[in-house]
Symmetry: C3
Subunit: 139 residues, 3 copies
C-alpha cells in the first residue's frame, strides 16, 4: 500500500469557472503505477469546490443559473460588510459543493462514467492561480 | 492493507428515486473480512448522487420538494436545447449532491447512526439499470 | 499502512450551529504519527453535516440565511406530520451537505488553506451531545 501526494496547478477565470481536470487526475493515477485504490482531490481554500459533471456548455450554464438563484452574487452579504469583500456567495457555494472528491480506481483506471468529468469550480470573484492537492492511495 | 473493488447493480425508477443500499454496503464490508478502514461508494455517471438520509417516506418526499424548488424539472434548461434532452435538472442535482460517499468502518461494522441509511439517488428522468462502484480499503 | 479510528465528542447548540473542529482533527493526525494519508471525518446521524468554511461570523450568518431560504425551518414538512417531529429541514440540509469529509495530509499536516476550517454543522433543532468518527489512514 502506497500514498503519493501531488500538487495540481491551474489558472481559473473565477466567477464559478468550471475547469475539467479529469485528464490530469487520470495521469496522476497512471504515473503512480498503482492498480487499485482511491484518488482524493482537495481544494486548500474556502472559495473552491470539487465535484463531477457532464462537461457540456449547456449543463455548466444551467448550474451557474441555479447557483446564482440560491446564492445571488449581488446580495448584501454580512461577510462583505465585515471584510470589505465581495465574494460572500463564493464562500457559501464552496461550503455546499464541498472541497473534497474521492474517486476509486481499478486496473489503473478511474471508475468514471463516459459522460462524467472531474471538475474544479472556482467560485471566487476574480481569476486565480490555484493549487489543488491530488493524493493517490492504493496498491 | 487491502483494496477490494466490487460492483453493485440496482434498478431504479428514476425521477429522484432514493434507493437504500445500506445492507448491500454492509455486506460488502463483511465479505471483505477487513476490520477497519473506509468504504467508498461511487456513481459512474453524471445524473446520480450518493449521500445518507433517514430512509423515511416523509423525509424523502420533503427532500424531493426542495430539489424541485431549486432545480425545477420543467424549466427550459440550455442542456435540453443543445441535446434534445429533458434531464437538465438531474445533472445539476447530481453535481450538488456529489457522486461519491466515504464511510468509515471499525470492528468490521459501518459507523452509521441508527436512523441513518446510505442512499443512491437516481436523478435521471427514466427508470435505469445502474452499476455503482463499491470499494473497501483497510486492514 | 495503518488505520486508526477515534471518536470526537462535542456539544452543540443545534439550529445549524457551526463548530470548528480543525484543531482536534489536526491533533488526531499528529497523534497518529503518520506522515501521509487521509483523515475521514464522519457524522453517524442524519441531521449533521461536515464541510470546510472560512470560520468567520459573517460567512456563517450568510450560510444560515441561504439554508433558511432553500429549506425553511417553519415549513409544514411531511416528516413532521408522520413523526410529530420539528426537524424536517435538518434532515434535508444534512443530506445535501453530506455526512462525510475526507482531507489529505502530508508531512504530518492537514493540507488545508490558511482561511479554511473543518466544521461540523448540527442542523438539529436542539442542543445535542454529538460523537463524530475520525479515522486516520496512511503511512
Amino acid at each position: 500500500m502506497t500514498v503519493l501526494t501531488m500538487e495540481l496547478r491551474l489558472n481559473t477565470r473565477g466567477n464559478s469557472d468550471v475547469v475539467d481536470i479529469t485528464r490530469r487526475v487520470a495521469d496522476a493515477v497512471r504515473k503512480s503505477q498503482l492498480r487499485a485504490g482511491i484518488v482524493t482531490v482537495f481544494c486548500p481554500g474556502s472559495t473552491g469546490g470539487l465535484t463531477t459533471i457532464e462537461y457540456e456548455e449547456g449543463v455548466i450554464h444551467d448550474l451557474r443559473r441555479v447557483l446564482d438563484e440560491i446564492t445571488p452574487p449581488d446580495r448584501d452579504y454580512l461577510h462583505h460588510r465585515r471584510w470589505g469583500d465581495d465574494n460572500g456567495h463564493a464562500h457559501i457555494r464552496a461550503a455546499l459543493v464541498g472541497p473534497s472528491l474521492t474517486v476509486p480506481f481499478s486496473d489503473g483506471r478511474l471508475t468514471l462514467g463516459t459522460w462524467q468529468q472531474i471538475v474544479f469550480i472556482d467560485f471566487d470573484t476574480r481569476p486565480r492561480s490555484r493549487l489543488l492537492i491530488l493524493q493517490v492511495m492504493g496498491e
